[in-house]
Amino acid sequence: MAELNQDSGGGKKGGKVRAKKSGGKVDLTAMVDLAFLLITFFMLTTSLNKPQAMDIAMPDKNKMDANDNLEIADNRSITLLLGSDNKISWYYGQLANPIYPPTTVDYSKEGIRKVLQQMKAEVPKRAGADKDLIVVIRPSEKSITRNLIDVLDEMKIVDIKRYMISKINDEEIEVLKSESLFND
């Protein structure tokens, strides 16, 4: 600090007098400001850097019988087929005899979220007050991780309690193909 106090006076005579007048101190306020700004930055980034964990629970696997499928009521379940190009095809009821036939939507707020909100309100009216919506998520092999995470995230946003991830079957792949959502 001694060096700073001397104020590196340029002149021989006048310089000395001036240095005494100015008090011989460097204003460190700006430096302290900067240091604290950087501290704040590093503190926040180190704690915010931690990634998030989205918990998933799958049902127990029946290894004896791979065709052991759970029967769920037609009028309670909608099925989301995750296709390529960030698009979803969804239908209500059974595929062979759907209440709402397959329709293509995207992952936006206006797309899948609107459908889920609408169906969440509609299903208890059709199936009975205590029967809430069941969402079956079927990712096709052309869908990507982001699609699956987005759909699971929508479940949380729309607050759907019952949903499951299950295997897509051949008829549903045909649906995706017919809507050209099965591209590489």
């Binding site: 600090m1 008090g23 101190k25 204003d27 460190l28 306020t29 430096m31 302290v32 240091a35 604290f36 950087l38 501290i39 590093f42 503190m43 980034t45 180190t46 915010l48 931690k50 990634p51 998030q52 964990a53 989205m54 918990d55 998933i56 629970a57 799958m58 049902p59 127990d60 696997k61 290894k63 995750l82 707020k109 990712p139 096709s140 092999e141 052309k142 869908s143 990507i144 991780t145 982001r146 699609n147 699956l148 995470i149 987005d150 699971l152 995230d153 949380k156 946003i157 991830i165």
Partner: protein
């Protein structure tokens, strides 16, 4: 006279000490922030609105990108224990030196028979390119190495936690190891499905997806 003296006094405070302290803190944060090891295979995780943080300990992470699978256990002690179990499972012997090296590696992505070769390399040579990924399939046989890595890590976690509990009265058993899947956002579903089925085959029905934070809409 008194007034004049007050006026002559400098209004600036001596900031030297404050500056010292703040830079000391700054140095501390900079050093701790950069101490984290760079990942071998950086992955662009998808974003979600989930707010739950990924635990630091008691966790096994399966990283997948471009059908290449890496596996790592967070706790170094458990990591070594896992390798000991794997060594007896696959009848591949490792030296104590190799165990020490393995302790320092966050995650590996090679078939177990190539692991010794990987460990013999220098730290900066263990790049993503030379690691071909852990073999995985839909069976529960030895060919599905990921299955056994996860299983042995779970077994190692249990024995580690039990030992800690016996030694240290204050230690609270954190329960079974958690499994997280860290998948690239653009990863196609079949490789995710293989991992999920591998986990389900050993009744590890609960797991997490590692995601980034999505900005509020």
């Amino acid at each position: 006279m008194a007034r004049a003296k007050v006026k002559r006094q400098s209004t600036s405070i001596d900031m030297t000490a404050m500056c010292d302290v703040s830079f000391l803190l700054l140095t501390f944060f900079v050093l701790t922030a950069t101490a984290r090891q760079p990942e071998v295979m950086p992955v662009d995780t998808p974003a979600s609105t989930t707010l739950d943080k990924l635990p630091d300990d008691n966790l096994g992470v399966i990283t997948v990108k471009g059908e290449k699978i890496f596996f790592g256990v967070k706790n170094p002690e458990v990591r070594v224990e896992t390798l000991r179990n794997m060594s007896s499972k696959y009848s591949i012997a490792f030296s104590e030196e190799e165990y020490e090296k393995f302790k320092a590696i966050d995650e590996v992505g090679v078939p177990i028979k190539n692991l010794r070769q990987l460990l013999s390399l220098d730290n900066d040579k263990r790049t993503e390119q030379i690691q071909t990924g852990i073999p995985v399939d839909s069976t529960e046989n030895v060919s599905n190495e990921l299955y056994h890595w996860v299983q042995q890590a779970r077994i190692a976690t249990i024995s580690y936690n039990r030992n800690r509990e016996a030694e240290d009265n204050d230690f609270v058993d954190p329960g079974p190891m958690k499994v997280a899947i860290k998948a690239d956002a653009g990863e196609k579903y079949p490789s995710i499905n293989l991992i999920i089925e591998t986990l389900r085959n050993q009744k590890q029905n609960k797991f997490s997806f590692v995601t980034g934070l999505r900005a509020a809409e």
